[in-house]
């Protein structure tokens, strides 16, 4: 089985978020970047499990600049066989999807995997767009995946329950929590990653149809006031006079 796992680079969750140029650019100063956890912990690890069980290969792909190589190497350290970086600064989901699809269309992947969303922009768009562009079935929010021959059985999260779907390869899916468990790279893996191929591909020149104009931070949340359980009168007074909700 030939598997492609598309991975994004995202800020670590503890990063301080700020913007420059009047709110049009994300300020990356002092920000520590990681591989998007949905891509790494669930999509990539499940892909590796499938390979370990049935053979094949796992390729990871990122659309981004050379600065992303450190994040890509982590995927190789965890166990991916090789990596591709499409050398472009991703602007919109459609641009990214077109670049991925353009690369993947001639590679004959049996399975194309994504995280269900990135933890920065939370768009959940790229996977579905790539599936459409490659004319593949797409299963989103998968929390369980078994493959037998060319037939896959997938459980996916739906509101209040689980839906089970069957699909034949080739197909695409997005991974949610539960599909696999995080793997920590070991030292041998980290050293082997330095020797695994990371191919840089120039972008095909997909058109960007959307441009980010402006970012705004949400209003700061006010502090929490703790009230002793026996002091119900004070709680009622605060809800009435300060929070003005009763």
């Amino acid at each position: 089985m030939k598997i492609l796992v598309c991975v994004s680079k995202t800020p670590e969750t503890t990063s301080k978020i700020s913007f420059t140029d009047g709110g049009s650019e994300f300020d990356t100063n002092g920000v520590n970047f990681i591989m998007n956890p949905y891509d790494e912990w669930y999509a990539l690890v499940r892909a590796l499990e499938l390979k370990e069980k049935a053979g094949g290969s796992v390729t990871i792909l990122n659309v981004g600049p050379a600065a992303n190589d450190a994040v890509i190497r982590k995927g190789l350290a965890i166990g991916a066989d090789n990596a591709v970086r499409i050398n472009a600064e991703p602007q919109s989901a459609l641009f990214t999807a077109k670049e991925i699809a353009n690369y993947a269309k001639s590679e004959g992947f049996d399975l194309v995997m994504f995280g269900k969303e990135t933890i920065d922009y939370n768009g959940s768009e790229v996977g579905a767009m790539v599936a459409e562009l490659l004319d593949m079935p797409y299963i989103s929010f998968a929390n369980h995946l078994e493959i037998d021959g060319n037939k896959a059985t997938i459980s996916r999260d739906i509101e209040g329950g689980t839906e089970v779907a069957e699909v034949e390869t080739p197909f695409a899916l997005s991974a949610s929590k539960g599909l696999a468990e995080q793997r920590i790279p070991n030292m041998r893996g980290i050293m082997m990653a330095k020797r695994k191929p990371l191919t840089v591909v120039e972008p095909s020149g997909a058109e960007d149809l959307a441009v980010t104009v402006h970012f705004e931070l949400p209003e700061e949340k006010s502090g929490v006031t703790l009230i002793e359980p026996e002091n119900m009168e004070e709680l009622v007074r605060l809800l009435h006079e300060e929070a003005k909700v009763i």
Binding site: A70, I184, M187, R188, I190, A193, K194
Partner: protein, 411 residues
Amino acid sequence: MHTPVQEKTAAAPQQAHKSVKTDQYQGHDYYLVDDLLEDDHKMARDAVRDWVKSEVSPIIEDYSDRGECPTHLFKGLAEIGAYGPSLPEKYGCGGMDEIAYGIIMQELERGDSGIRSMASVQGSLVMYPIYKFGSEEQRMKYLPKLASGEFIGCFGLTEPDHGSNPGGMVTNIKDDGDHVILNGAKMWITNSPVADIAVVWAKDETGRIRGVIVERDMEGFTTPKINGKLSLRASITGELVFEDVRVPKKNILPNIDGLKGPLMCLSKARYGIAWGAVGAALDCYDSALRYSLQREQFGKPIGGFQLTQKKLAEMITEITKAQLLSWRLGTLANKGNATSAQISMAKRNNVHMALEIAREARQIHGGMGITNEYPIMRHMMNLETVLTYEGTHDIHLLITGMDVTGLNAFK
């Protein structure tokens, strides 16, 4: 006799009390030392930090309280590659550089000095001498099993009556055809009660110090546990007792004789401790900084008061100096140019720095600082051992003194 196999293969204990507190540790890098590191150093650091947060932090206070070694972590340390990471891949090791090794030790000791000890004894004091002084046959026989955690090793140099003066050892080997007969006793041996093999230093009939690999099942070899430690309580420590142990001559390390052998091993371990101590200091500082911003007195966070800021400012200053010392020592070690005296300086400085920071951090935590809700007292108690083992604080001072004056003040 102790049965190490049972302990080593025990599953993660179900009864262990897991802390419900999330380990909120974040690294601190005031002088952007990260810019001096390679990507694989940072990846190794993040990997070990993730491992410590998921495997060590939830259980360490419980094991430390009970004075029990979390033996199930021996295998986990092997899986992340913490045993002999800078030895060649050919023997199942990491093939990394000395800075990576230091960073791994730092992250482990950020969790607990005892956990770091488990790894640094295996890597620096058991695998390193077998690699450096052993035959190819010995390397192939032992190193892959030590790297994978199938074997646990220990190192026997210190004796009940010979600590800072190891050259005075009385443990000895006598020729007996294809074998040597080993007699004597070693003391304060990390990992000994669970060890499968011991690298033991003993005098031959000519008085030369030789390294001998002793295996668990050899007749006359026992490893009684030392109880009652109030420090490194999550690390298991014991003795090595040899009563007419017949050791095959093929178990003697062929490529070394003299005190230089064990001292080279200690330099390796001290190098790791110099890095490791920074980890313990960082954990104390991180906890103290967070606590100082949350704990309010007189209507504001205690971090807003000058005396707390003095403590925090001095702590991060000393940590930054120690980080730079470690990094520079690492670059020298990578070129093979780090002298044992330079390693002594870093070990002595960084461990003492960490102990002082633990004490200051304890004060910032107030009464909470003496409880096991916070890691401070555990680090502080651990560091009392680290200050003494692998060359005491005073002995390292004399090494520096001798190095700069050329005069020996040991005797």
